[in-house]
Symmetry: C2
Subunit: 261 residues, 2 copies
């Protein structure tokens, strides 16, 4: 039996990235697409709790392509795994996102959050992004590498607390130098807001920013992509700063006051 | 000069939690409130990039209370620190959230994301939550403990990659046993969706779930709160699974094909 792969994304079900991903993965797997009905960029790991979700069959070129959900990537994976699918998939794949998801920006990425959800359900998961926001970019190259990574991933067991975050350079196939296993870099956005006046002379603000790459790491996601390598990063959420628990030990106390009240 | 504290939240600027927090912190600090204009629960670490933000002065009981922003907690902290404030605050505080933010649920929490933003700007940051979704809950107790934690935090230096996630039991003051420094627990939600029919006989789905607490950790956030301790967890985002980079080494290759094409 072919493996079953659940595909989602955050650019929306109508994006070129998810279409190419679905097309390529169909060669080796049974696929099911459950994706947001519209673009959900920078939704991070958000969930829709205050309104109900709709699940609508979505057609492309006259054929059934997948299910469109009026929610976030995390919603899509959750509702697929709990409600829509008959059997547990062998893999959850998200992307291919238009725009790279590297360094701390992983925290803001809907593409990555879909893989996080897959992992939390105990399923091998991979997030794919290509390093360009251009929707006209040819996606053959990126989707070929995605297929290669998925094939390799199907052959091994992942630790249950780990998923893969994959970033693919936006260059032609010949220029890609290979695949590298990397760490999460320490690059960051320096944010600012552009202040403008609307036609009624009221202020409004556009989010903007400039990206600062880390300079002193040799094997991180940003550097790999910059050097035309496909970056494969094993992600695990280690949230406690154990080393610094002592620093905050002075915060601890036991309330004695109660007895004397 | 009094310290300057930026206050935000994800329940919205009109919530009781932020009002109590502001009231208490005013005793020891100059405060500025910049918070979402409406509830933003489970927005996670999301940013508003596809529409402009508005910043509207917000009044409570006839007095200026703070700025309401049509965005997420992360938006509020970003626009405050980059654009609205004249000087860098000494601390970013978010909350008091109605509903505890513990274990992996930290990833979905807008309250926590506000503190993450503060930390990324190099500012001491703390997220406060109380373990009840009841907006009628008396907030004197929770805000007293928040004040106590903020006072202690003002006295020490935080590592630049670390912020505090604080969860306060929803019990009366006498029942709180003290403050504990904890690790992030491994509890999790088992999600499901409630399927219903709308008046037009179309399906819709409500997100729901049941919480499973970790059982084999003695000093985590969930257990502390359950035992009526205020839980103080130092959070650091360690995202790379370094231990498992070898496992994925087989993914690596250098493209040789180019030369022979």
């Amino acid at each position: 039996m072919k493996p079953l792969i659940l595909i989602s994304n955050d650019d929306g079900i109508n994006s070129p990235g998810i279409q190419y991903l679905a097309l390529k993965l169909k060669r080796i797997a049974e696929i099911i697409v459950v994706a947001p009905d519209r673009e959900q960029s920078a939704v991070g790991h958000s969930l829709t709790m205050n309104k109900p979700l709709r699940v609508i069959p979505f057609r492309k070129n006259g054929e059934f392509f997948g299910y469109a959900v009026n929610g976030t990537p995390a919603d899509c994976v959750k509702i697929a795994l709990t409600t829509l699918l008959d059997r547990k998939p062998d893999m959850v794949v998200s992307g291919i996102n238009h725009g790279q998801n590297t360094a701390i920006n992983i925290l803001y990425s809907g593409t990555v959050s879909a893989s996080t959800e897959g992992m939390l359900f105990g399923i091998k998961s991979i997030a794919f992004s290509v390093a360009s926001h251009n929707w006209e970019l040819e996606m053959e190259t990126a989707s070929d590498f995605a297929l290669e990574v998925v094939k390799k991933a199907l052959e091994i067991d992942f630790p249950s607390d780990t998923f893969l975050n994959v970033n693919i350079p936006a260059v032609d196939k010949k220029s890609i130098k290979g695949i590298k296993v990397t760490q999460v870099g320490s690059g960051y956005w320096k944010d600012f807001y552009v202040k403008r006046k609307d036609p009624f002379n009221r202020d409004y603000y556009w989010f903007s920013g400039e990206y600062y790459e880390s300079e002193n790491e040799i094997n991180n996601d940003d550097i790999a992509v910059k050097n035309n390598f496909v970056s494969v990063t094993p992600i695990k959420y280690q949230l406690t700063n154990f080393e610094e628990m002592k620093l905050f030990a002075g915060f601890e106390n036991e309330n004695k006051q109660d007895n004397t009240d």
